[in-house]
Symmetry: C2
Subunit: 234 residues, 2 copies
């Protein structure tokens, strides 16, 4: 019997690889969230990719939470998006208060409702330096709570927790997921093309480079010129 | 310096007493949720009571989660509300999947956003027999996760966890909160008056009786006649 799994799906690179690999072997549904983030560009990528994969997908509108969580550049247009490396101190302004707990709680609610076995999400080893709710200190007790949140127990899994982004990209390429990887979207700026220089764009570019996998992402040429690939930090 | 506290507030009896007592000694804001429950009657009570107390109040609309959590009689009009005692096995159909995790995650997000110290909610000792997410096995790791969910740590407190409902009512009366207690709303049916015979009405009536506190609630006379007070289980 195949595991029944809900994947928390942002439309970004890591969760696209997680969803694409899980959909091969498990019974999968995907859930995305609109939490009032600056742009919907990543949700458009998510919608396109689930169609390619033939996976049922729900987008949960949480945009009315925005006034409660407006201390982040991702939810408050008055706070500028910082440029620089993903792990820099100034990137902490991109942290959306308690975002993971909110999204995971709702994903687990849906899993309980469907009597599904598990919820998976794509936190990876690089995330925790900036994002407190990607740290093991948060995730471990949170997963324990989710297992006890209902008489039907749901297992919260983070299969990529100890992987680097480059390792995730390498796995995606090995599994032949290049096409959906190129359709995924990471940029904080929300333009049609990736800017190539914001924190997540830099991290994306460095991951392909370090993985030795050809990056099929179309970056804005101006951003690429400003930050040549040999100057990206891993 | 007074603790800055957000109270998760349903408009029911327990959280009304919690809010009323906290508002005396702490800097308090209240948060309520519309999660697609059958009726808005308890939210009307909540809105009226916060005005009496002079407490800032937000109602978060989560009604678009309803399709994801429709296995409960509280969120699915096709599932009838069971009658009987609150702790009976058939009351499990009133459990809304992962409701507490969702509400508490959002309340903690707001606390992080405001740099508040704590979030309080009114789970009490009688809740856990039916509601899995009122059990200590859920709450303890969940609170641990919330403390680590952000670089600003929020303390999740459940001051009534070991109290019976009768003890809570007795405390409310001692603090002179009878007026707002009578304005609070418990009934699953959502009528203008409490029906007097659903699980929560029975529990409410028994709590006042066991506490030896005069119950100023206006019950529907037909319901009261059907279930006289001396036949209520505690």
């Amino acid at each position: 019997m195949r595991t029944k799994l809900i994947v928390v799906y942002s439309g970004g690179l890591d969760s696209t690889i997680l969803l694409g690999s899980a959909a091969r072997i498990q019974e999968v549904k995907a859930i995305s969230f609109n939490y009032g983030q600056r742009h919907k560009r990543e949700l458009e990528s998510a919608s396109a990719i689930v169609q390619v994969l033939g996976v049922e997908h729900r987008i949960v509108d949480l945009s009315n939470l925005r006034p409660l969580i407006d201390s982040s550049s991702q939810t408050n247009p008055a706070i500028p998006v910082p440029h620089g490396h993903y792990a820099d101190e100034n990137m902490k302004v991109t942290v959306v208060p308690n975002r993971n707990a909110i999204m995971l709680s709702i994903a687990c609610a849906w899993a309980i409702n469907l009597k599904y076995d598990a919820v998976a999400y794509a936190a990876h080893s690089g995330d925790h330096t900036i994002y407190p709710d990607c740290r093991e200190e948060f995730i471990t007790p949170f997963a324990e709570a989710m297992a006890k949140a209902d008489w039907h127990s749901v297992c919260l899994v983070r299969p990529l927790l100890r992987w680097t982004k480059a390792q995730i990209v390498r796995m995606g390429a090995k599994l032949g997921l290049e096409s959906i990887m190129s359709m995924s979207y990471s940029c904080y700026e929300g333009g049609l093309l990736h800017c190539g220089q914001c924190g997540t764009c830099q991290e994306r570019r460095a991951a392909f480079r370090d993985a030795g996998v050809r990056d099929l992402t179309t970056y804005d040429p101006a951003g690429i010129a400003a930050l040549p690939i040999d100057q990206l930090r891993s």
